[in-house]
Each structure stands twice: as structure tokens, then as C-alpha cells.
Symmetry: C2
Subunit: 275 residues, 2 copies
């Protein structure tokens, strides 16, 4: 890494991308961070390719204008549907969450062939981006759309019998389709908050799986891109400089965002990207 | 009503407003209808006042530009948070769903004082628009935000044990706060699709309530505004002329919309309102 601090732009439709920022902070403490949550236009996961690409490109351009010299698409839906559009629109390196997630699934593979189940939004599943990325690594893939999981997380029901029941329904349907599954990839940045509920549900179903969290894998991909040595996260690092932007209520961003970031979210700036 | 056919603009953030259009069609078959679902920017119910007002005004202006000479805000959140903004922005009469819903609750009142429970989105509840409208009619009001109900309807789980369980949780919390409740007002256009589930849940809780659907009350208010005599709906009317617009995927609008409209949704036109 050059002696100049990199400015890393991190973008998500809402709060979920803060789980990626959370993984980045201890791994690359010597950077500036600019985070944008496009909260006025969320969710992306239920919308069309054209709409998602339009929103994602305008958000990415905003972060570039603010000085980002590396962009992290910390949103599975935007990565799955708009990675190439964003890459074409920006003159800086772009890193998404799909490729690092697929690589982490490969690293976790204990047997060959490995069978990966991806839980994601409807739009991500329809894009088949994860299937393509996993197949390219010779991994078998099944994708399952889980549209109720984001609302359940946002309702705060992360340890709740209703959430366990919904997870059991989704996982039972998916595993009936792919019974040889041994790896579970959380293909939405909201889902790591449900990891305890997912583990509990899989135990009750007597079908344990290796769980891959694309957020941590993405943070490692960013460090690698910057030429940083493979190292343990510096958990004692003093907080790097983070600037937060949102397109809707800054109060809600601060309130909900802290759950995803794992620490208080400092001042949030309201911006208007049109719409 | 004049001999000229009125052109009625009907606006919602998505598909829910089609339940209002569904009530309008047999009641006022002799009208032209233009429906706009602002699907690229939905949901409104979890967003801020400023964002909702901005989206709702631009949507209402579009319908006026298409020739609407009467606007129906077929969305509780947009009515609760942006009724006055829309009224100021348009030179045509504007009818929302809150006032007709409150009037219908009054008409249904069997005892005095009457206690009404309103189920609605977070933004609608925070606006306290229903409480104000009901209090003005000397009705007691409690409001309960139910953020999971729209996602459950959109998942298609309208008769599903998980939905019954979620309804039981929401209704138990609300009725613990207002045990004298005797009337339930469905303050979101998605909720009429859950009416059988709500009745079933209330029966299991041994707490029957009179259920008010603001969609039908709004259709009657529109007929009354147009000076139409109070009459039974003409269920044999040949279909009035309806033109549909959406800001996101027209295929999804046609597919999901038919559940709300109760009949197939004809050709949908994709428009861009920015954002």
C-alpha cells in the first residue's frame, strides 16, 4: 500500500453494508471510509434489473465524487445486478461481494464436489450471479430467495420464534431441492445478523452446514487488492475516519445502523440523489 | 355528475391501491381511470416524512399531467404524510383514504364511546393522522405499526400459519394496550387481503371486532364527491377504461397486481419519475 491513506467508498441500499464496513475497520484501520446507504430507495432486492442498476450507478458515482479511490459494493443485490454497470461508470477499482463470497465457499470446501446453498434476495437469485461465480470454481450451487428475512431483521426479530419458523420453511424447501448441501452462503448483508438463528434452525433440522459470511471475505479481498499483508484484524485499532451519508432519515440510519456496525454510528449526512 | 366522463387518477406506492380501484370500478363504472404504482420507490411506509412527500407529490403531478380531474390517494402512508402537500401541488380535488376510513368507523360505531384500533405502517402510525381524524369524530383511537404484514402479503402467505402467528403477536400487543377496542380499521391497502386471517386470529383470541376496510369507504367518498346517488355497485358493468402506469417492472406489476385488483391487469406502461 502506498504511504497515502486510501479512501474506501462503501455502498449499500441501506444498513446491511455496515456489516462489511465492520469487517473492514479492524482489517484496514489505516484508511478513510465513506459509507452511503441509499435508504430513500431501498430495498433493491425486490426491484428490476434496470431500476437497481440506475440506483446503484448514481450511488457509486456519488462516492467517487466524494473522493473514493476504491469502491466496495457492500450489497449483494447491487453486486449481482449492477457490478459491470458500476465498473463501466467509474474510473476506480470496484470490488463486490459475490466473487469474494464464492472464493470463501471454495476455501471452506471439505469435499469434492462441494454443494453450496445461497440464501439471498429475489433479485439476486433471479440474476444467477452466485451460481455463475460458484460454478466457475467447480462448486455446485442452489439459490433460495428469502424475501421475509430482511423485514424480520428490520423488525428486530433476530432471536424470535417466528423468524426460526420462517427460516425452517425456507431451509426445508431449499434442502429438499439440494439434499447434499454442505455449505451455506449468506448472500445478503442483512443475514449475518441471523447467523445464531440459522445455526439453531439447522441444528433442529439435524442438517449442520458450514456458514460463509461474504462480508468478512469481502473485507479480506479489499485488503488483498491494496497489497496489505495477510494479517489478523487489529481489534485495538483506534477508530478510522468514517463519514456516513444516507438518502432518507438520518435518525433512523443512526438508530438501526449501530446494530449492523456493532458500534455507534457517528453523524450522518442527508443527501438527495433525486427520485 | 356531468355528462362528461370524469378521469379519476388513482395513486399508490405499489399494488395495494388496486384494492381501492377494485372498489371504485363497480361503484363508478362510467369513468376513465389512470392508476400509478410508484413501484421503483416503494415501500413508503418505512421512510421519512420528507421522502414520502417528495415521492407522493411527483406521482400525483404525473397523474394530473395525464389528464386526471380528480385524484384519489389510494395509499394510507401517502395520505397520512402528504395529503396537504399533494393538495397544495394540484389544482384538482384530492381524496385520501384516512378521512373516509374514519367516517366508516364512525358509521359502524355501536356504542359510545367507541374504541378503534388502527393497524398501519410505521410511517402512518408515527404521523398520528388516523388518531387525529378519529378523535375529531369523538372516537377513541389506538394505532399499531405492523411492518411485517406487507412483506407477508407480498410473499403470498395470506393464509399461512406464520402470518396468523405474526397477527396474533401484533393484535395481542395492541389489545393489551386498548382492551376496550371494538372496531378494527385496516389502515394499509395491503391489509384487506389478510381479512380472513385477521378474522381467524381474532376468533382464536376470543376478541371479535368489527372490521373496517378504508378502500370501500374511499370509493363511496369518491362517488359522493362526484354527486352520484348512493347506489349498489353495478357488478355487471362492463369494464371501465383503465390505464396502468408503474415505475418498476411491468411484469411484476401485472403478476402481483391481479391479486389486489381481483381481475387481470391489462397492459402496464413503464414510466421514469427520476431517482
Amino acid at each position: 500500500m502506498s504511504s497515502l491513506k486510501p479512501t474506501i467508498g462503501v455502498f449499500d441500499s441501506g444498513f446491511g453494508g455496515l456489516t462489511v464496513l465492520r469487517a473492514l475497520l479492524p482489517l484496514i484501520p489505516d484508511a478513510r471510509y465513506i459509507y452511503l446507504g441509499d435508504t430513500a430507495r431501498l430495498p433493491y432486492g425486490s426491484k428490476s434489473h434496470e431500476t437497481i442498476a440506475r440506483y446503484a450507478v448514481s450511488s457509486a458515482k456519488f462516492l467517487h465524487e466524494q473522493g473514493a479511490d476504491l469502491l466496495v459494493i457492500a450489497c449483494n443485490t447491487a453486486t449481482a445486478l449492477a457490478f459491470e454497470d458500476i465498473q463501466r461508470a467509474l474510473p476506480i477499482p470496484v470490488i463486490g461481494v459475490v466473487e469474494p463470497g464464492a472464493q470463501a465457499a471454495l476455501a471452506a470446501a471439505e469435499s469434492t464436489p462441494n454443494q453450496v446453498l445461497v440464501l439471498a434476495t429475489t433479485a439476486t437469485v433471479q440474476s444467477r450471479a452466485y451460481t455463475q461465480a460458484l460454478n466457475a470454481l467447480n462448486l455446485e450451487a442452489t439459490e433460495k430467495a428469502c424475501p421475509l428475512l430482511v423485514p424480520l431483521v428490520e423488525e428486530g426479530w433476530i432471536n424470535h420464534p417466528v423468524t426460526d419458523e420462517v427460516l425452517k420453511i425456507y431451509l426445508t424447501e431449499a434442502l429438499a431441492q439440494a439434499p447434499a448441501t454442505n455449505t451455506l452462503l449468506l448472500g445478503c448483508t442483512h443475514y449475518p445478523l441471523l447467523e445464531p438463528a440459522i445455526r439453531r434452525t439447522l441444528t433442529s433440522m439435524q442438517h449442520p452446514l458450514t456458514i460463509i459470511d461474504a462480508a468478512k471475505a469481502t473485507a479480506r479481498a479489499v485488503a488483498s487488492h491494496l497489497g496489505l499483508p495477510s494479517q489478523s484484524p487489529d481489534l485495538n485499532a483506534t477508530g478510522p475516519q468514517c463519514t456516513f451519508y444516507a438518502t432518507d432519515s438520518v435518525e433512523k440510519f443512526q438508530f438501526l445502523g449501530s446494530n449492523f456496525l456493532g458500534q455507534a454510528v457517528a453523524k450522518v449526512n442527508l443527501i438527495d440523489l433525486g427520485g
